[in-house]
Symmetry: C2
Subunit: 259 residues, 2 copies
DNA sequence: CCTTGAACCTCAAGTTACTTGAGGGTTTAT
DNA sequence: ATAAACCCTCAAGTAACTTGAGGTTCAAGG
């Protein structure tokens, strides 16, 4: 197609960077219908078609579906009523963006953990991701049960630096692993107590004094319907492991108080 | 299903927030296969299935496809080789994020323009979006042609506040409109010259002195293959309008120099 | 003028992660 | 026992393409 402003699909595709099958598709759905050579059926694109395609790409960029674009293309002017749909798109994009940012954060944390540990039990990792994923849901649940103090704790934790966050990941991971190894031993076994000590120190070194106090106070108060909460946060432990772990911590606290 | 840890699809769906058809689908593709009542065929989910589902959702959150998830679910541990795929996902997410941020910026600018103008010619709007969309491509093109000074100009423009950016949008839009109205009149017509004055002032008030100088110097230098560049930036004007506009600017500059 | 390879054509089917619907069986509460 | 609520399977639809088979047309060289 030697003419200066008539192009074959191939040339047009080359010029615009849009793959040929996509151009075929746009033709098929009536979005961009070039001229056709009546005898051969070959498509003939012209300069105007480049402009239409640019419009299509622009509207896609704004988040419109091809169907919506087909309608918008006919409009010669845009009026304020378009703003409504633009605002909607904007909201959707905002949500997507937040999603992506959270995912990126989680991935970074997982990558680092794997890097440092070499091999990591998949259950524990997935548990970690799960809690990152549902952080805001858990917060909302706690808000609903007016556990505002705990929300404070969580938020305090969030404000911590990346570094601290990561070392907490590592501690939680290490502890999970050790619990699984040590499970079955009596809770007063020195190995067990050393592990617990490690955990408690690391975990609370990241929290300020007064929050620790609030946290402790709260622990004393009665039962709530934790059923729902438990469903949201499957622990990496079996039920028995969890019980054993709780006992070991109780024992540790008692010992501390005696001293 | 009165049993405490056996659930029907409905109950399971309620508990987890995943729609029933989706659970059916996950069953079908072998991702989450609950027990089945052999006589009725009804699905029976248990507590373990909640955990599996949470794993699935976690891996989805990281950006894996259901197919990949099916394989990952069988793994009991994750090793460093997983990091490669995680990094890839991270990169993809980063790209998506940038895309979204750009779209959001563009939409905001368009919304504001429409708000202030009421009704806007769709060609001009789409042209505006097009240039936002291809900003980085244009910059790359200029880099390639070693027009680093122009890149400086563009970057300077980018650094300008949202406000300035917007008032530039508006100016460009207004000028486009006026060009279309005034086209045909002689370039020395006072109306035309007033319009040009307006444009030049607004446009260059946003650039610093030395960049203006560089820009001017550069303009004098010879031709390049602007063909390619033109393709990337379809002007909102017809060819004739563009010519007329260029002449009007030339005339304006001459007058300025005489004074 | 003929041939050959590249480019083009149409039409059908595949992709992902679901959603919707038709037509019919099962459970559960009354 | 019967009705409402719930469940089943299987088929088809969705968006925005991509892939492939099988056949036609074009452009250049001999």
């Amino acid at each position: 197609m030697n003419n200066n402003n008539k192009f074959s699909v191939g040339e047009f595709s080359e010029k615009t960077g849009i793959p040929i099958p996509t151009l075929h598709y746009y033709d098929e759905i009536g979005l961009l219908r070039p001229e056709k050579n009546p005898s051969s059926g070959h498509r003939i694109y012209n300069y105007q078609d480049i402009i239409i395609l640019q419009k299509i790409l622009s509207l896609k960029f704004l988040g419109y579906s091809l169907d919506e674009i087909k309608n918008l293309l006919n409009k010669t002017s845009f009026t304020v009523d378009l703003n409504e749909s633009l605002s909607l798109h904007l909201q959707a994009l905002e949500k997507e963006k937040i999603q992506i940012e959270q995912s990126m954060k989680s991935i970074n944390r997982v990558i680092r953990l794997i890097e440092e540990e070499g091999t990591v039990d998949s259950n524990l990792i997935l548990n970690l991701i799960h809690s990152m994923r549902t952080e805001h849901i858990q917060k909302e649940w706690m808000d609903r049960h007016m556990l505002t103090d705990v929300v404070d704790v969580v938020e305090e934790l969030e404000k911590k630096s990346e570094e601290d966050n990561f070392s907490l990941d590592k501690t939680i991971y290490q502890v999970s692993k050790e619990v699984k190894q040590l499970y079955g031993k009596p809770v007063e076994d020195p190995k067990v107590q050393r592990m617990i000590k490690n955990y408690v120190e690391e975990y609370f070194s990241l929290l300020s004094e007064d929050l620790m106090q609030k946290f402790a106070d709260m622990n004393i108060e009665g039962e709530l319907d934790f059923q729902e909460f438990e469903n949201m946060t499957p622990s990496p432990f079996t039920e028995d492991e969890q019980k054993w772990f709780d006992q070991a911590i109780d024992y540790y606290i008692q010992q501390e108080e005696i001293e």
